[in-house]
């Protein structure tokens, strides 16, 4: 029994570190796809349900989160959201989410855009990079495991590194319909 438990724990440790440390350079075509192949119907009755095929592939992958951090600057997300503290756009490091903290919601926000300023990056950012951004954005509010979150960057420091940010419990979202 004890041995079984130890083996199970070891396996979990192994699997989790594999997941965390993997470098997925060459994504499968589905994930690399341009996300403009499908159109969403703009009017959906009831609460919004985003159309998502892949469900948060990078929530525990350190490399992808770090890539997300790089892209956050490269694609000029910092222009509006600053370094997570918010500016023209809402802050991303607090526990308040206008459109929900689930990976799918953040994905939809990036791909679809949102009223009042958030542009749609549909077709501009490849699918897997959107997911990398999603993972990074979630890390800003302590929503990814700390051992996978990024450390400080190599620039002027504007805030504490993601690794050391406190975990924030997202505000209650409206219960979703099945």
């Amino acid at each position: 029994m004890k041995r079984l438990l130890a083996a199970a724990l070891a396996l979990i440790a192994i699997l989790s570190s594999c997941e965390r440390e993997e470098r997925r350079f060459r994504e499968m075509p589905a994930a690399a796809a341009r996300n403009n192949t499908k159109r969403l119907v703009s009017l959906v009755p009831g609460p919004y349900t985003p159309d998502v095929r892949v469900r948060e592939p990078y929530g525990y992958n350190a490399y992808a989160i770090a890539e997300g951090k790089r892209l956050f600057t490269w694609y000029n997300c910092t222009g509006c959201h600053a370094n997570g503290g918010g500016g023209m756009g809402p802050p991303l490091m607090d526990s308040r989410w206008i459109y929900g903290s689930d990976p799918e919601n953040i994905y939809a926000t990036i791909v679809e855009g949102r009223p009042n300023g958030m542009p749609s990056f549909r077709g501009k950012v490849p699918e897997y990079q959107v997911w990398q951004l999603v993972a990074y954005v979630r890390s800003l509010s302590g929503n990814v495991p700390r051992d996978a979150a990024t450390g400080r960057n190599d620039h002027m420091q504007v805030r504490t590194q993601e690794q050391s940010l406190p975990d924030l419990v997202p505000e209650k979202e409206p219960a979703r319909q099945p």
């Binding site: 192994i14 570190s17 965390r20 440390e21 470098r23 051992d147 990024t150 400080r152 190599d154 420091q157």
Partner: protein, 644 residues
């Protein structure tokens, strides 16, 4: 009858002493004995075997790299795997093999060679061993989990910093440095104290064997060099874990600070690996030419000079970083100057061979191979010491060739010779001579075939640490040759270690002194009993066993009922007092487990260090708490601070 009968320093008919000493110095027994041993012969053997296991794994990784580079655009390894493999190869060979094996040989041999019954601080020695074991296990577990460090053994920031190395890979590097440096520093302290305070009466400092001198010098180098890399690794660890800015140029940090700290350790490191080998060569040359090494004083001064100059040339690895020119000239001069003491030693050995009667047994062959290879490495070292040449050669395969000529030629060859030479002392049996010859020629040919072409590859533009190259570079044929050579080299290593494994069980029985050695380790049985010497020897010269040991006095009056050792004075080795060392205990193992857990948990949270230190202090208290009324602890608590 006892095993010591007939050895030169055993008084005949001392059966009662033999029996009492055997009981007093008995190794741990019982179910947990593996975790409780403290004897330097047992720990030393384990140390040696463990280091060679890491060596074999590091060698396998080297083989993988050679396969990947055999032809252009090869796909044996992906770039991500290659980066991990070359990094782990480097840290294995430098941190887990080279320094530990040199210390491990000393742990086994030095107390015998200076005629004492134990290494100073036997429990700390066990602790050091477990730290090496756990450190290596951590790295290879990480490699199998795809989380091995991948920023090179030199680990330059910013690449190794938090912004460019995601995950916990580089943190493994930083923790490994802590593991191995704690181990190395602990052993260095033990060796220095043993050499200074436990030499047989009469072995004044000018009569110490050259190998003992070499280990003394090396241990002092470790004491001064290793702290720099521990500081560096803690800096990078803090940068990655809690967001400090030591290497972030935007906040006042500096990537070059790393290079200075690292090479202040990294360059002496080469001599830390090389100087023990010089001692081994001196031992072997002297025994197989049947005469003392020519120029004892010159040899000792050369060792000391090498150590001093070794600290003055770290910038030699940074010529391309754009440092001021006057500084560079100084470091060029220092780097070239260090060739002089090395040259003196080579000349003295050749003179010894000239004056003596060489017999071509395998240990001696490895020494001859050492001279032939090491001189090439030394000469290419003079080339990379020149700033203008280094600007072309730096970070190319020329340097790969150079460093392997120096480290394999300068250290591994003497080491293989030394293992062959001391094998009977370790196991009681001889290694097979014929297989020894075969392995020598295979290793010698394979080595040159592997690494000589790399000189040329570097000159025609092949940089180091590349996972592949394009066909049009023209580097293909020489790389293929080099890979073929690696196959021969691997075969030679297989023959050598196969020979060792078989001989361990089936080799011819050796007897106390199979080679007709000159130094005291040959004055006890093979393998030596747990108490090492029935009566401690008294020596009157540098080659005690060649100077009529039967007529030399022996020491009596050391307790046979306590683990008592004779402490002698530092310079003239006159008896000073008697000191009791502790017996088997499990505390070092527990302390090492605690330290190891602390370092591994420290990959994830800085709090691990606070909690770990507290736990460690508790364990250290248990360690140093005196056990019984009669047997006493050996160390006051501040030893604990050292190990912590």
């Amino acid at each position: 009858m006892n095993v010591m009968e007939g050895t030169p320093y055993a008084l005949p008919g001392a059966t009662r002493e033999h029996e009492e000493l055997t009981r007093t110095w008995a190794p741990a027994s019982g179910l947990l004995r593996w975790f409780r041993q403290v004897d330097h012969l047992i720990i030393g053997r384990r140390f040696i075997i463990t280091a060679f296991i890491w060596f074999a794994l590091g060698g396998l990784l080297a083989g993988l790299m050679r396969l990947q580079l055999a032809v252009p655009e090869n796909t044996v390894l992906s770039n991500d795997q290659y980066n991990q493999v070359f990094t782990v190869h480097g840290i294995t060979m430098m941190f887990l093999f080279a320094v530990p094996i040199m210390e491990a040989m000393a742990v086994f041999i030095i107390p015998l060679m200076i005629g004492t019954r134990a290494l100073a601080f036997p429990r700390a020695n066990a602790y050091a061993y477990y730290m090496l074991l756990f450190g290596g296990m951590m790295v290879y577990t990480a490699l199998f989990l795809n989380m091995a460090p991948d920023a090179g053994w030199f680990n330059y920031p910013p690449l190794s910093g938090p912004a460019f190395s995601a995950g916990k890979r580089v943190d493994i590097w930083a923790e490994l440095v802590n593991f191995t440096e704690i181990s190395a520093l602990t052993v260095a302290v033990e060796i220095i104290v043993t050499i200074f305070r436990q030499r047989a009466p009469g072995m004044s400092i000018n009569r110490m064997p050259l190998y003992v001198w070499a280990m003394l010098v090396t241990s002092f180098m470790i004491v001064f060099a290793m702290p720099a890399v521990m500081v560096a690794s803690n800096f990078i660890g803090l940068d990655r874990l809690v967001g400090t800015h030591f290497f972030n140029a935007a906040e006042g940090g500096d990537a070059l600070l790393w290079q200075h700290l690292f090479w202040f350790f990294g360059h002496p490191e080469v001599y830390i690996i090389f100087i023990p080998a010089l001692g081994m060569v001196s031992s072997i040359v002297s025994v197989f030419c049947r005469r003392p090494v020519f120029g004892y004083t010159a040899m000792v001064l050369s060792l000391v000079a090498t150590a001093f100059i070794g600290f003055g040339l770290w910038v030699h690895d940074m010529f391309a970083t754009g440092l001021p020119q006057s500084g560079e000239s100084f470091f060029t001069a220092a780097s070239m100057m260090i060739a002089i003491p090395s040259g003196v030693q080579i000349f003295c050995w050749i003179a010894t061979i000239w004056l003596g009667k060489p017999s071509f047994r395998p240990p001696f062959l490895f020494v001859v191979g050492f001279i032939a290879i090491f001189v090439i490495g030394g000469l290419s070292g003079v080339m990379v010491a020149s700033v203008p040449l280094d600007l072309q050669l730096h970070d190319t395969f020329f340097v790969v060739a150079h460093l392997h000529y120096v480290l394999i030629g300068g250290s591994l060859f003497p080491l293989l010779g030394a293992v062959f030479y001391w094998f009977p002392k370790m196991t009681g049996r001889m290694m097979n001579e014929r297989a020894g010859h075969v392995s020598f020629w295979l290793v010698f040919a394979g080595f040159n075939l592997t690494f000589f072409p790399m000189h040329k590859l570097g000159l025609i533009g092949m940089p180091r640490r590349i996972y592949t190259y394009l066909p049009e570079t023209g580097w293909g044929p020489l790389n293929l040759l080099s890979t073929a050579g690696a196959g021969v080299l691997a075969l030679g290593m297989l023959v050598y270690f196969g020979n060792a494994l078989v001989s361990m069980r089936r080799g011819a029985l050796a007897g106390a002194d199979p080679w007709g050695g000159a130094t005291l380790e040959w004055a006890t049985a093979s393998p030596p009993p747990a108490y090492k010497f029935l009566h401690l020897p008294v020596v009157h010269g540098r080659e005690p066993l060649w100077e009529g040991p039967e007529n030399a006095p022996v020491v009596t009056g050391v307790s046979t009922k306590k683990r008592e050792v004779l402490i002698t004075r530092t310079l003239d080795a006159e008896p000073d007092h008697l000191y009791v060392y502790p017996g088997p205990t499990v505390w070092p193992f527990l302390a090492a487990v605690t330290t190891g857990s602390m370092l591994v948990a420290g990959l994830f949270t800085p709090w691990a260090f606070a909690i770990g230190t507290a736990a460690l202090l508790v364990f250290m208290t248990g360690w140093f708490w005196p056990t019984t009324k009669k047997k006493e602890g050996e160390a006051p608590p501040n030893e604990g601070a050292a190990a912590a």
